[in-house]
Amino acid sequence: MTMSTQPVFSLLGTTALLFEAPGATALQAQQRIWALAHEAEAWPEVAEAVPGMNNLMLAFVRPPRDLAALKARLAAAWDAAKALPREGRVVELPVVYGGAGGPHLADVVAHTGLSVQAIVELHSAPLYPVYALGSHPGYCYLGGMDPRIATPRRQTPVLSIPGGSVSIGGAQTGVSASAGPSGWNTIGSTSMSFFDPTRQPPAALQPGDLIRFRVEGVLG
């Protein structure tokens, strides 16, 4: 991936504007994204400000006639944005790696050239900060995965992987909160209730919370 030194703006049709922060993916940049989201969601043309991985999507109430003005305002707000640290909770998730719950572990072995044991150790070592929620209800995008186990998304997305699937997509890792389609490589499984629409907030984890994967077992 080419790294830009300036923020990049792009359109998602007439529905939303996407802002991509410059530089390599980093927690400090993500903390600025959280601050930017907090500010932008108060703007009249913004229905919702949705953080991604070092990027921010502004969904429109209605598309503005003058796009340039909105981009300029966003660029200025980014330059002024101070990192907004969050004191999150630490949540430990027991993971069984490989076996029926981790059908693509072999693909990660093949891509990285590492052993199963090495991949499990590298994957379970960090304390992963939740950067953003997305994909499906309650799903957390995590930062901090060891780049040595990065593995490209699959050639063709899988039509359904079960809830609790622990997976790697590119340089990212995460846990499926419910069954559904995915283009990521599933390397293990855990169990946790991530979402309840009757709760406030409905998602169990928030940006700034921290996840640790505890090795419950490794199946060949």
Partner: protein, 334 residues
Amino acid sequence: MKAPRSTIEVLSSAALATVQDLGRVGSLRWGVGSSGAMDQLALAAGNLLLGNAPGAAAIEVPVFPFKVRFTQDCAFALTGAACAARLDDQPLLPWWAHRARAGQVLTLGLPQGGAQRGSRAVLCLAGGVDVPEVLGSRSTQLRGAFGGHEGRALRKGDVLRAGDCGAPRPTGFGLVPPAIAMPLGVDGAAAVRVLPAAEYEAFEPSSRDEFWAGEWKITSQSDRYGFRLAGEALRPIAPMEMRSHGIVPGVIQVPHNGQPIVQMRDAQPSGGYPKIGTVIEADLWRLGQAPIGSRIRFVETTWDEALAARDEIAGWLAELRRLLDLHRARSGFQ
């Protein structure tokens, strides 16, 4: 008199019919996609025919035949795909407001119209389908298993209640479907307008040309989540691994196999595959009606043209509302 507990009972086992409104806004930050009717224009128009709010919940029917029995007298409207509907034995016009008596059976048959046929019928009820609002919407969130009717597609034996069958409202009139009022096609294929997206320039020039010039077949692996298309594979200049970011219905992702996927109403609110373009909001209803196996064309558009297309849709709905208000006033209904 006690209010009836149900208005309709589902008689068919046809899968995948769901309760939908205009969709869920404000919960993207928790990973909750918008859902909502695939043909939002059909939903809004059907509701206006009944004097409902345009975003009242209705039943979206993608698989036929679909059968319901009315368990109380109620006004209803049929929009979306014209599907040889019958009330008992009486044929019904599409894009029309009707009235059913308790005990009558409504049958929706296969969509008609040859190559121009739609693929999803919308059944609106007086006062809207009365299901609980969850996170601000009555749309079914299939992935999260909440919203709509018990968070799932309808099944044989389900009973649903209309919000307001009691109020007298005029029926027996209809409108010209938007596909006829606002047609869009290229060389006989249905077309939708597309704004280039962030990674457009990162595809091979020949692939960019092919994207606009080619016909794209809607494969059988297409549903409310996304339409998987088949055509000439689109090649990036270099492989791309993107950071996950927000996406919206209409975004056209190109996974590594080069075959594009258009995100539809049940799409995830975020993704990471390269995006070659986005079908504009004003044309998503057209795509929502395109049948599996049919071919579509993409037409390049600009921001100003896309806003004009959005204004055209809003104008069509405003004119419809004006004419219906006039008709109700003349019929003595307010």
